[in-house]
């Protein structure tokens, strides 16, 4: 029983990270209808930036928040420089853009910081959380920080004018322009926020997977799985999908005999395929009720 609870909680810790990545993917997907396969590399480079700041002697939290800010600006810049000019281009051109971004970020990180793995600090250490043997302080921090972030985003989208404008621009850009929303800015803002969310996820997971240019590869896959599971266009679905994937992965890895660390990922992906075969809109994707 103890083991089950413990494994569920650590599954939630990883799941929280997948949820962040999935949410970032969904945000971009909703605004430009493309899956950002460079999302993981954006998070990775942000994490390197944070590491570099700390190497230069900046304490953890200032580095953490400064990185979020810089990641936001980086996301906006990626939109302005790379994807805005592609706005009307065909799907394959976009795909090429994403692949290029992926490769560039990956190689630049390798070039500047090389490919050897680096330890990344824990913000609160790894002692047992509140003396409990179920979960470590860092796992609790992963869950706590992600959930706070996701909750703030929920408040932002649900209760602020800019949040409303962003949702409107994502669903019907033409109508949004006709009420005076500068849709281009909303897209940039979406990129900035997605990049910042990724940065938080990267900094939280880096102590666990260690910092190196390919650190996000597996996590991005789990994030994709979570986003697809959640229905791709549903932010709440992405978060739920992330948590589910995290817990599923961990429980299967622990309790199903013969499932070692190596086979966890393919198993998680098999789950997705199974779900999609049964529910093509994802677990939480709903058909929009609509009359014409």
């Amino acid at each position: 029983m103890e083991l089950l609870i413990g494994q569920t909680l650590s599954g939630l810790a990883n799941g929280a990270i997948y949820a962040c990545i999935a949410l970032a993917l969904v945000m971009i997907y909703k605004t430009i209808d493309h899956l950002n396969i460079a999302q993981g590399e954006m998070a990775m480079i942000s994490t390197f930036f944070a590491w570099q700041l700390m190497e230069w002697g900046v304490p953890y939290w200032p580095a953490f928040f400064l990185t979020i800010f810089v990641a936001f600006c980086g996301g906006v810049a990626i939109d302005r420089v790379l994807f805005r000019p592609l706005a009307k281009a065909p799907v394959l051109t976009h795909l090429a853009g994403f692949v290029a971004l992926f490769m560039i970020l990956n190689s630049v990180a390798g070039l500047v910081w090389d490919f050897t793995i680096k330890p990344f600090p824990y913000p609160f250490g790894t002692s047992p959380f509140l003396g409990s043997s179920l979960i470590s302080t860092h796992q609790a921090a992963m869950i706590g920080i992600s959930m706070v972030l996701l909750f703030l985003l929920y408040l932002f989208f649900q209760f602020t004018r800019i949040g409303l404008a962003m949702r409107a621009a994502a669903t019907l850009p033409e109508s949004a322009r006709l009420v005076g929303i500068r849709t281009g800015r909303m897209v940039s803002l979406g990129w900035g926020m997605a990049s910042a969310i990724g940065a938080v996820a990267g900094m939280l997971i880096a102590p666990v997977v260690f910092l190196e240019p390919n650190m996000m590869a597996g996590i991005l896959l789990y994030g994709f799985a979570a986003a697809v599971l959640g229905g791709l266009s549903s932010p709440a679905g992405a978060v739920a999908g992330g948590l589910l994937v995290g817990v599923f992965e961990n429980l299967v890895g622990t309790f199903v005999p013969g499932v070692g660390h190596e086979i966890k990922l393919p198993l998680a992906l098999a789950l997705i395929i199974a779900v999609l075969a049964l529910k093509p809109n994802g677990l939480f994707g709903r058909k929009i009720t609509q009359r014409v």
């Binding site: 004018r161 409303l164 404008a165 949702r167 409107a168 669903t171 019907l172 033409e174 109508s175 949004a176 322009r177 006709l178 009420v179 005076g180 929303i181 500068r182 929009i288 009720t289 609509q290 009359r291």
Partner: protein, 237 residues
Amino acid sequence: MSAFLEAKDLDAFYGQVQALHGLSLSMERGTITTLLGANGAGKTTTLRAICNMIRTSGTISLNGQRISGRSTERIVEMGVAHVPQGRGTFTTLSVDENLRLGAMTRTDHRGIEDDIEKMFARFPILKKRRSQQAGTLSGGEQQMLAVARALMLRPQLMLLDEPSFGLAPLVVQELFEILGQVNRDDGVSILVVEQNAQLALKIATKAYVIASGRIAMSGAAEEIAQDDEVRKSYLGY
């Protein structure tokens, strides 16, 4: 004295296809003007050209200020509320959110809250449905919502593209009464595109008939309504 809305020599293009050919029109402040014409004549394109939603050459001015060449968002900020063909409802958002979106360019929070209450008084059905997804409203309710959303801008000029489309005759009548009120009481100038020429000519003071991207005919609405020749060849009733 120049007209309230003045468009001169508009050419408009969808890619290589030219949809407007040297179209000119003007309307006075506080009036209702209607644009009539067959399917594919260029009515929607004319409204899109006014809001710079399509590549256009020629000049357009509002209150003597040139608006051609400005971005759509900027033109909206200047008080032009455009309800596009198909209504442009944000169907996945709530009725309340749709109204708030209409006021997106305004910053007077009190005024916005007051106006929402005014819309609910004017369109009681919207109040009942305020937190419902707009896509679940009936066609008539959605059209009321579209007009209310446009009014939330406190526009000087409203552009309406076939507001009667798909509505039952009784609802159409109600809608046009409301448009009349909006024009009289709020002093909003209205440029309305209609297939239902008979009805549009009743509330409008001036009418333009478009054919193949050109003005085929213009004049006082009453005269156009009585001109059998025009009725037969362009309006089909």
